[in-house]
Assembly symmetry: C2
């Protein structure tokens, strides 16, 4: 029989400290299997605590299996193997201090939205109301909140020309997640998928994770080489028809018809990624591919560009032929997107705030886009070609220079400006001249101007040098 004296700290309840001390003694082998422990009364007296305190500590140790009570005989240590945490302790040390990168003052990042014009008040109001709905306190509807789907049905019809029922809509938390889930349904019938080259990396990685082979459909600055479709093996096509990523070209109605016809001929599907069609500056947004034929098109939309990437809210419209299989395969899954955000967005849309927000942002982004293009032309003149300036939240800048993409990015960084590469988007058909991506959504006019001026200094390509 042992007696124990512990110093108590004030930070945790005493019973917990007793429990922890005894547990440590057992785990470290100071108390051996079948050793007897002091009685509850005795331990209470030694440690000058109440019996209730020692009893609670013993009960916890009994419940976890460290010790056992044998009635009047008292408490004993159980037989335990020594397999406790010993390994890998070193891995818990703080990782090495990383090298500090140069300070970036102006970041032409594309994955962001304007913060200054966010409808904070309206969104807060609806968010606070959503927290009082009963729906917020249960697991939501597995494929999306009905209130949001109703609004999406109307929005898709009015803004994108897509006719669908609420039942065909699956709410998700992002394009990659939805493509990944969709892949489970499609991979049994399709071994490969045609992707745009250049094109969106997130989509490619989703397809690859599901084991799809990728076939590259070359896209030029003028658009996709659709005449090559007939030579391809795959019957599945992933495209960004309203705003090609990254070139920014839009498919004409003729091109849309060609691919719909192709899908019918090969008995395949088209996955239409309609990620930012709201922001088209020269004309109204074009109707979606899914508005032409919704039996062959899987439509994917998102609130990441048009509203807020951080709310992780997106949706897809499945053709009838896939819907049943999808719902069956994911019958035990909870939905992925916050139901609070879904309910808030539903109220936001229902009250017309959504339409107002899109109109306002289209104007703001149009101004920013025009200003960026103007600044670039002023600074660089004929040394660059600007691509994709009619829609979306970024432009591409093709530089007629000998330097590599990498060199241009690095010299920009030295001047405190971050610009982004496009070469990772190319599978096979890399362009000869470097093309950089410049997003502007989160930048103020002032920053756009400063940023471009810094770039001119960094690259020493000002139009005066021509």
């Amino acid at each position: 029989m042992h007696d124990f004296i512990f110093p108590f700290s004030n930070e945790e309840p005493k019973y917990k400290q007793i429990y922890q001390q005894l547990k440590a003694l057992i785990e470290q082998g100071n108390l051996q299997s079948n050793d007897s422990l002091p009685s509850i009364r005795r331990l209470a007296e030694t440690l000058q605590v109440s019996r209730n305190t020692t009893l609670t500590a013993y009960e916890q140790l009994v419940a976890e299996g460290y010790i056992r009570g044998e009635g009047r005989k008292g408490y004993f240590v159980n037989v335990l193997e020594q397999v406790f945490l010993k390994e890998e302790e070193t891995s818990l040390l703080p990782s090495n201090v990383k090298q500090v990168p140069p300070a970036i003052e102006i970041d032409f990042r594309a994955g962001a939205v304007d913060q200054a014009h966010f409808p904070l008040k309206a969104w807060r109001q609806f968010a606070n109301r959503a927290l009082q709905l009963e729906e917020s306190f249960v697991y939501g509807e597995p494929f999306g909140e009905p209130l949001l789907k109703e609004q999406l049905v109307q929005y898709l019809l009015q803004a994108r020309g897509v006719k669908c029922e609420a039942d065909n809509i699956i709410v998700g938390s992002g394009t990659q997640q939805m493509l990944l889930y969709l892949g489970f349904i499609l991979k049994h019938d399709f071994a490969s998928v045609i992707v745009e080259d250049p094109g969106y990396l997130g989509a490619r990685q989703s397809f690859k994770l599901n084991g799809f082979e990728l076939e590259a459909l070359p896209v030029l600055e003028q658009g996709a080489q659709l005449q090559l479709l007939s030579e391809m093996q795959s019957r599945l096509l992933y495209v960004t028809p309203s705003h090609h990523f990254p070139y920014g070209v839009t498919m004409s109605i003729q091109q849309r018809q060609i691919i719909i016809q192709w899908a019918k001929t090969v008995d395949g599907y088209i996955i239409e990624d309609d990620y930012d069609s709201e922001f088209r500056y020269a004309q109204q947004p074009f109707p979606a591919l899914a508005s032409i034929d919704h039996s062959r098109v899987i439509y994917i939309g998102t609130f990441s560009k048009s509203f807020l990437p951080g709310i992780r809210l997106s949706y897809m419209v499945l053709p009838k032929s896939l819907l049943h299989r999808y719902k069956e395969q994911f019958s035990e899954f909870e939905h992925n997107a916050s139901s609070l955000h879904q309910l808030t967005m539903a109220a936001f849309m229902k009250n017309g705030e959504w339409t107002r927000h899109i109109k306002r942002m289209r104007l703001i982004y149009k101004q920013k886009m025009n200003y960026l293009v103007e600044q670039l032309q002023q600074q660089f003149g004929a040394n660059i070609t600007i691509l994709g300036e009619h829609s979306g939240l970024y432009v591409l800048v093709k530089l007629h220079v000998q330097q590599t993409e990498e060199q241009l990015i690095q010299s920009a960084e030295k001047y405190g400006v971050k610009v982004y590469p496009t070469s990772p988007y190319f599978l096979e058909h890399l362009t000869a001249e470097p093309i950089l991506q410049l997003g502007f959504s989160k930048l103020e006019m002032e920053d756009i101007k400063d940023g471009v001026q810094q770039l001119a200094k960094a690259w020493q390509l000002s139009s005066i040098n021509k």
Copy 2:
């Protein structure tokens, strides 16, 4: 050359109506390929609108490829194939009216949380602040917001005994989603996985989607039959050690040691689903399996039970051996959980609100649990056995009757009470007597009492009948 007269409505801009009318005429074949269109001036005069209006309409049609301008010659209809929306129109009709189920007054649903004691004020306050952070307006950190991960590191150490670095934590939007993603990393090394029988359906479906074979580990009311582990083929084990789903038993330290030892011997991994360990009523929560050996355990936690299922916030702690591969395979993925909720939860935790919330809810749920058990014992006496009453947000009720689970559920429904089956959780080892699941988290005391009284009437099993 045609002339057009349209009646205008007041609902949409006139240019849009002109665009829509011409588009419809082209699509329906009323305007044929290469037909010439009236000039901008002429159309403006016929329709009595400004030239700017007709110009805008034509520009949109040109941009979408319906018509072309040929300089001074004017505008012409382009060559289009007739593949427009004709099929499947019938599928767009509203689906048949469904049969109305009887009104449920008291729902013993487990997938819910208490609404009355939700910390609405504090949560709102932190949520509103999160909306002003710059982090909320960009795509978040792909594997979770650093601010949240810091808090989780502390919480896991203090409450679950798990030592980890922020870098090892992956934030996700739910257990099934995380298991699915994890499956992509594990399936190359593991062809099958051992799952508890009975056990959690969502986990099984995730594994099946990734092509894993399932091996059933029988779990009895007293706990898992761990001695059978040595006979199994798989080297991967999915368990709920702190609160077995659905039986509610907890693994002792000996049992935990056995499975850790097993994982070492077979060079495998244990996936620990720690979904509601916060709510343990008789003792303090037991330390997690991952606190014993974090090199063999993939730890999965969630805010769905302890906070709110609708915010879709969960996390896993990956052993070093898997971390790199995970981050590589999902390098192009955005995270799945709302960064607004992540940032809000981080502030909520940092300010001590989280600990307060858990303490408060543990007390409230303990009272509800005790009351439900008391009511059940009073009404049914020896006709039932109650399982899992020491933790979690539901109990199991085993009925010593001849009726089937289905019959019991249906007769309860006739009395306005919804109770849930457990048979779907069983793979091979279904029990002889029916076991029902009764969740109580969202119910008031009054409802619990009424609900149990109604069940007594429905099942005619009151303890007086003994």
